[in-house]
């Protein structure tokens, strides 16, 4: 991910203009390859996490939401996604484009200044593009048609993910250049979590609740698998965040450290909150705390120090816990709390990081600003980035939902919902083991 700790470092990402090809750094490449694999691991991790939370009859269909994104966006990204995100400004900067990146064909010999083949950067970035739409699926779990879902994520990737990614991480993206040293989004607070969270909320509202919600209890079919999935997500997130440094050194180490600490702090706080509120700490609560901590530190992992990570992780759990209580009060059906966790913690992280920035960063930013640069200045930039992302994601998602509903349709029939996704859409049953045969 375009690392944003300081502008000069960013230049590492650009292949030099002149003929002199930068040298490959086998160590950095090794870590970035590993990070790519780790982020890929998050896809089955997410499938397991979400899959375990739905009812038995929807387990495969829900896992397929994550997996299918690997296939659809996996191809789309190679064809044009990378070109849209990391090409030069087009249409007034709304999107990027570089014809040379079509089918990744211009990358075959390219080495970035960071010392890694551009292919690796493209694949690493591609994993983010894959997982983000998959996150949304949790908001309308158990009630969408598969074809409609595929169309939805395709459009969403093109119209929401690619533009926002371009704004935030491309060197000529306008959020990347906002303020003294850019809006800070180390590994995807805005690009990934806010877009997914907000779009999920909009989709949940537009599609309406599951049949029977909230009266009927909808028991998780396999919390055990949800725990496994959360474990894989935690592990994969190390690639997600520490890989976003596009290096294998101090910046990477810092990102890894605060990621680990924020996750632990988030989990710990959620357990505490539940213990106070219900006298019981649930395992799902634990996982939610882990996720809240991981999400909140995602935009911040490049600039925050360990004590800040503890505070942010704890704050994220508190706020997300509250957000979910509020959802229950309001009664809309964001089934797996995509907004409650990713949206809320993503916004919190993007804003709250302003108060925990490493002093060195602020000094450099002040220099770049040609004088002073205060926490409040940066907070303003962050707030602008958040606001723009929220508004844009919401509006365009609404449009896409409209389109999808007019074409393939998105909402599953009531009968289909009662029978379950697995049988109706995929012709399968998740657990043969529960029935004799």
């Amino acid at each position: 991910m375009a690392k944003k700790t300081m502008l000069p470092i960013l230049l590492l990402l650009l292949p030099s203009v002149a003929g002199a090809q930068p040298a490959n750094d086998s160590g950095v490449t090794a870590w970035m390859l590993t990070s790519t694999a780790l982020v890929l691991l998050m896809v089955p991790g997410l499938a397991m996490f979400y899959g375990g939370l739905v009812r038995t009859r929807n387990v495969l269909g829900t896992m397929m939401h994550s997996f299918a994104s690997m296939a659809v966006i996996g191809v789309l990204w190679a064809v044009c996604g990378y070109a849209f995100c990391f090409g030069e400004n087009r249409l007034g900067g709304w999107l990027g484009w570089n014809g040379n990146f079509f089918f990744l064909k211009g990358l075959d010999d390219s080495i970035l200044d960071a010392g890694i083949p551009e292919y690796v950067f493209a694949m690493f970035q591609g994993k983010f593009a894959i997982i983000t739409p998959a996150l949304i699926a949790g908001a309308f779990a158990e009630r969408v048609r598969f074809k409609g879902y595929l169309l939805f994520i395709t459009l969403w990737s093109l119209l929401v993910y690619n533009p926002v990614c371009h704004w935030v991480w491309a060197k000529d993206g306008f959020l990347f250049n906002m303020g003294a040293a850019g809006a800070i989004d180390f590994a995807g607070g805005t690009v990934v979590h806010i877009t997914a969270g907000v779009s999920g909320l909009v989709a949940a509202l537009v599609l309406g609740s599951r049949r029977g919600y909230p009266g009927t209890a909808m028991n998780p079919n396999n919390l055990v698998m949800t725990l496994m999935g959360a474990g894989l997500l935690w592990v994969g997130w190390f690639g997600f965040n520490a890989g976003s440094s596009i290096s294998s050194g101090l910046d990477t180490a810092r990102a890894l450290t605060v990621t680990q600490i924020a996750a632990a702090a988030g989990a710990f706080s959620w357990m505490l909150i539940e213990s106070v509120h219900h006298k019981k700490a649930t395992s799902l609560g634990f996982c939610s705390g882990v996720l809240a901590g991981l999400v909140v530190i995602t935009p911040a992992a490049g600039v925050v120090q360990p004590y800040g990570a503890v505070v942010m992780g704890a704050a994220a759990s508190l706020l997300c816990y509250g957000a979910i209580l509020l959802k229950n009060r309001l009664g809309y059906d964001d089934s797996l709390d995509v907004f409650g966790i990713h949206g809320v913690a993503g916004m919190l992280g993007a804003l709250m990081l302003s108060f925990f920035i490493r002093p060195g960063w602020m000094v450099n930013a002040a220099e770049a600003a040609g004088g002073t640069w205060t926490v409040l200045d940066q907070f303003g930039v962050q707030a602008a980035a958040v606001g723009i992302t929220v508004a844009y994601s919401a509006a365009v998602t609404l449009l896409i939902l409209f389109l999808v509903q007019k074409t393939t349709g998105l909402r599953l029939s009531e009968k289909g919902e009662m029978t379950g996704l697995d049988n109706v859409l995929h012709g399968e049953h998740g657990y043969g083991l529960i029935n004799l045969s």
């Binding site: 009859r57 049949r211 009662m418 029978t419 379950g420 049988n423 012709g427 529960i434 029935n435 004799l436």
Partner: protein
């Protein structure tokens, strides 16, 4: 008192329950079973349609007083049928229940149902 046992298609459980509740039959016991009657549902396995020999079913047991038997059976019949009836829709079995005891209070007979 009678013990009514219905074997229905899994996708009809929600509807049957709602139909029963509408008929004010709220106390039921359900369990998973697998059955062989007429073929109906089919799964896909790597491009091949597979007709399972034993198919997932749901079993509902309801103990009720004699006066409620018809209501209960009616409620099930109405809700468990796919369209106007299709193979695999299931069966209802009725046996005589000699005694019913509520564990909480040790009450017996009709009032314990």
């Amino acid at each position: 008192m009678k013990l009514i046992t219905a074997i229905i298609q899994p996708d009809k459980l929600d509807e049957v329950r709602e139909s029963l509740i509408a008929a004010e039959i709220t106390r039921i016991t359900v369990s998973r079973c697998t059955g062989h009657g007429q073929y109906s549902d089919e799964d896909l396995y790597r491009g091949q349609k597979v007709v399972p020999n034993l198919m997932p079913k749901v079993r509902i047991d309801i103990a009720c007083n004699d006066a409620f038997v018809d209501i209960t059976v009616g409620a099930i019949l109405k809700a468990a049928r796919h369209n106007s009836g299709q193979g695999g829709d299931g069966k209802i079995f009725i046996t005589h229940l000699e005694e019913c005891i509520r564990i909480r209070t040790s009450e017996r007979g009709g009032k314990a149902i």
